[in-house]
Amino acid sequence: MGSQEIALIVSNLDVVYNRIIVALHNISFTVKEKEIISILGRNGAGKTTTLRAISGFFKSEGISIRNGDLLWCGNSLKGKMPFEIVRSGVVLVPEREKIFETLTVHENMQCSVSNEINSKRKNQIRNEIFSYFPILKSRQKQTAGYLSGGERQMLSIGKALLCSPRLLLIDELSLGLAPLIISSLMEILSKMRCDLRISILLVEQNAVAALGIADYGLVLENGSIVLEGKPDFLISNPMIRDFYLGAADKTERRRYRDFKKD
């Protein structure tokens, strides 16, 4: 990692599918140390594609970067292999396929490769993970395939943390989870930011939960950023209210275009 400040700088990113279909257009944002940034938007808006582009998954998804750059600690992430990106401190918690089902919980946690050579520090991290998610400790010998949805998410985050990340990318944390679990997970993420000194880029459909812990938010629609700002601003914004908080009056169907004028 470079000697520069720990930050992810995404500038003017254009991403295309199969060399033709535009998935992302002119995306720019920054994630600084210990910040939590949230990307919001509906299905298909391009949120997951953004994370994929950052974590290096091109060939398997058929996407490529046409323009723009991704700088992590001063170095470009373009063209790097996924495992190299992980070893430089940027770790993705994917939406699907997040744990190894045929391995036990303990073995799952052993798979993570990190730059941390100090075994004492590694144990420290492991203990911190168990303190956040005590249930993982008690289920260590169990085959991961039998875990419940919430437990899988916890294991998945735990495994990601074992890679000693500086930046955690989380894709749709809340999908399929009960509200109680979602809020406790969000709380834990917030704690992690200070305890472990990591930044988090959180992609979420559940705007309320995400904005509850974020320092800043971006709203994507059709591959472009249509709105951004601090949580208060976003929550009070009528557009967000209509589209995400379901507060719209059904007689007034509106679209983003109506808002873009301002």
Binding site: F83, F100, S112
Partner: protein
């Protein structure tokens, strides 16, 4: 009783052989149809080294194994890794092509004459009376011990070492493995090296126990049924699969005809494919992937 002993020895040989198919299938999701040729190469390397350095005696075996393992890694990097995006069948065809290439070059280098490596090294393969009515040769016993040792070591490796766990992880979900920092190319390269290691060990044992000539690569295809019967992606299935195929083959020799014993493994293969394609212990989902 002698029949049982023969079955046991053949099971050991087939297990050693078959595990190579499973290792590669789990890593690259393809059938390495050149496995038989690699096994044959193991025998030939053993023979050449034995001819040049007869004084090293038994030491030649581990040296050969290491060379073959490295060869396996080389083959992966040069011919399998480039096929990464292509349909799996194409990669299988590459292994077939490789097999043909290896066999051709072997004939050029060593001719089709049958060789007996042990005579060069000066080791004798003698029949030993084990129990009343049961006679096994030295290398029969070595096969049993060798296969057992390799299996034990492999089991320990894959279950308890960090790299072994990473191998299992990469076999299940390569993308997730990459997301957790595992360099799956390296994992796959080592897998191929391990497969050639076990395969060439089987080759050395067979070459010493029976004979060495270009046709023994056919054993590769027979041992292939072992992997399918046991389950292409299952380590647990290798031994049961080997046992079934070995039993079928030897019983066929005695009760039907020697010619039949050659196709007995294929009959078993077909039956398995028809009634339970994923083998005894394989995962059913594997079928969908293909």
């Amino acid at each position: 009783m002698q029949t049982l002993a023969s079955i046991l020895v053949l099971t050991a040989l087939y297990s050693l052989f078959g595990i190579g198919y499973v290792i590669i299938y789990r890593a690259s999701r393809l059938l390495n149809l050149a496995h038989g040729e690699m096994m044959m190469l193991g025998g030939y390397f053993f023979f050449t080294l034995a001819t040049s350095f007869p004084m090293l005696s038994y030491l030649i075996i581990p040296i050969t194994l290491v060379i073959c393992a490295l060869l396996g890694i080389l083959i992966y990097r040069l011919s399998i890794k480039p096929m990464a995006g292509h349909p799996i069948f194409a990669a299988v065809l590459v292994t077939i092509g490789l097999g043909i290439l290896i066999r051709g070059i072997s004939i050029l280098l060593w001719t089709s004459r049958t060789r007996y490596p042990l005579t060069v090294v000066g080791i004798k393969n003698e029949p030993i009376q084990m129990l009343p009515g049961v006679v096994l040769s030295t290398f029969d016993i070595l096969t049993l011990i060798g296969a057992g040792a390799v299996f034990l070591a492999f089991f320990l490796f894959i279950k308890f070492t960090k790299f072994g766990i990473q191998m299992r992880a990469a076999a299940e979900k390569p993308l997730l493995a990459a997301l957790r920092g595992i360099d799956y190319n390296w994992v796959f390269a080592v897998s191929w090296g391990l497969a050639t290691f076990t395969g060439s060990f089987a080759g050395i044992l067979y070459a010493s126990n029976v004979r060495l000539d270009p046709t023994i690569a056919i054993l590769g295809l027979k041992a292939f049924s072992v992997a399918v019967v046991g389950g292409l992606d299952s380590f647990r299935g290798v031994f049961p699969g080997a046992a079934m195929v070995a039993t079928g083959e030897i019983l066929a020799i005695f009760y039907i005809s020697p010619l039949m014993s050659d196709i007995a493994p294929f009959v078993l293969l077909l039956i398995m494919l028809l009634i339970r394609p994923w083998g005894l212990f394989g995962t059913k989902e594997e079928l969908e992937r293909v």
